[in-house]
């Protein structure tokens, strides 16, 4: 929240957090201070379900390069699945 660069996206899926698997309903994407990554800022994604409290969170803190590669890879995998008629 020091940068205030954050967006929320609703989504359906499941994540494995500290308390085991849970159904998540939102991803919070920010460019802000990470908690663990040794950088001033990182691309942070928190997969959450607020209904279960703040502990229902699967967190990743990515470098810029890693985040961009992840986006491209997700698109590529989904594209291939579509081409093969699996989606």
């Amino acid at each position: 929240m020091c940068t205030m660069i954050v967006q929320k996206v609703p989504l359906e899926g499941f994540g494995k957090g500290a308390g085991g698997w849970f159904d998540m309903d939102q991803a919070n994407v920010s460019w802000d201070h990470p908690f663990h990554a040794p950088e001033e800022h990182a691309l942070n994604i928190d997969f959450v379900n607020d209904a279960y409290g703040p502990g229902a969170r699967v967190a990743v803190e990515l470098s810029v390069e890693g985040a961009r590669q992840l986006v491209e890879t997700i698109q590529s995998v989904l594209g291939e699945a579509e081409e093969r008629g699996l989606i």
Binding site: M1, C2, T3, M4, V6, K8, A18, N28, S30, D32, H33, F35, P38, E39, E40, H41, N44, D46, V48, D50, G53, P54, G55, R57, A59
Partner: protein, 252 residues
Amino acid sequence: MYTTDQYEGMLAETVAMRGANGDRVLAYCARPLGAGPFPGMVLIHHMPGWDEWYREATRKFAHHGYVAISPNLYERSGHGAPEDVAAAVRADGGVPDDQAVVDLEAAMHYLRALPYVNGKIGVFGTCSGGRHAVLVASRVAGFDAVVDCWGGGVVMPADQLTPRRPVAPIDYTAGLDCPVLGLFGAEDHSPTTDEVALHEEALKEHGKEYEFHMYEDAGHGFFYYHRPNYRQAQAVDGWEKIWTFLGRNLAA
């Protein structure tokens, strides 16, 4: 200065107070044992939350002779591991300024009511807490000294104002009625050296008492020994400047 033959005792514990909207807000309070009177300090935690570093810092202030209280500004976002709670607040764009100001004012009044406080209250914050320190001391009467450690967002362009943070703290400078100590890193991205210069200009323009120190080879959070941004020499010097500044301004 502490000497090896001196008695020292400390009480540190979680307490509760009423914050904005009458909400219960937990706070961590540490004080030297004894009748005092001791000066008081409100400590404002950083964006990563009401965490272990802030508990240590609260005890550090008590070690140096202050009754210190650090309220949990993230109280309304639920309870859990500090990181998880802070992540929820980060997703919401921070806590509302108005709410933080009332919570911090309540912490100040909590200290003022204690029989072992000398009537002088300072406020210290790092990161978003540095911004909150400047904000509350500018909007609320009753603080006697402000320590702003690398508070980003004191200067805010219009396009960064939000319903939660509708006014840049720098725009409240006229209301500030106590001295400010600012510690910053020249390599910080928030605040930048240009933003610190703008803040300094505003303090000058309004005739406020302040001292700013810009440390070379330091970025954001250079006190945090558990982060790679830690800078030993700058941190040691910064803490010394804090004790000197507070000693000068909070003595009874």
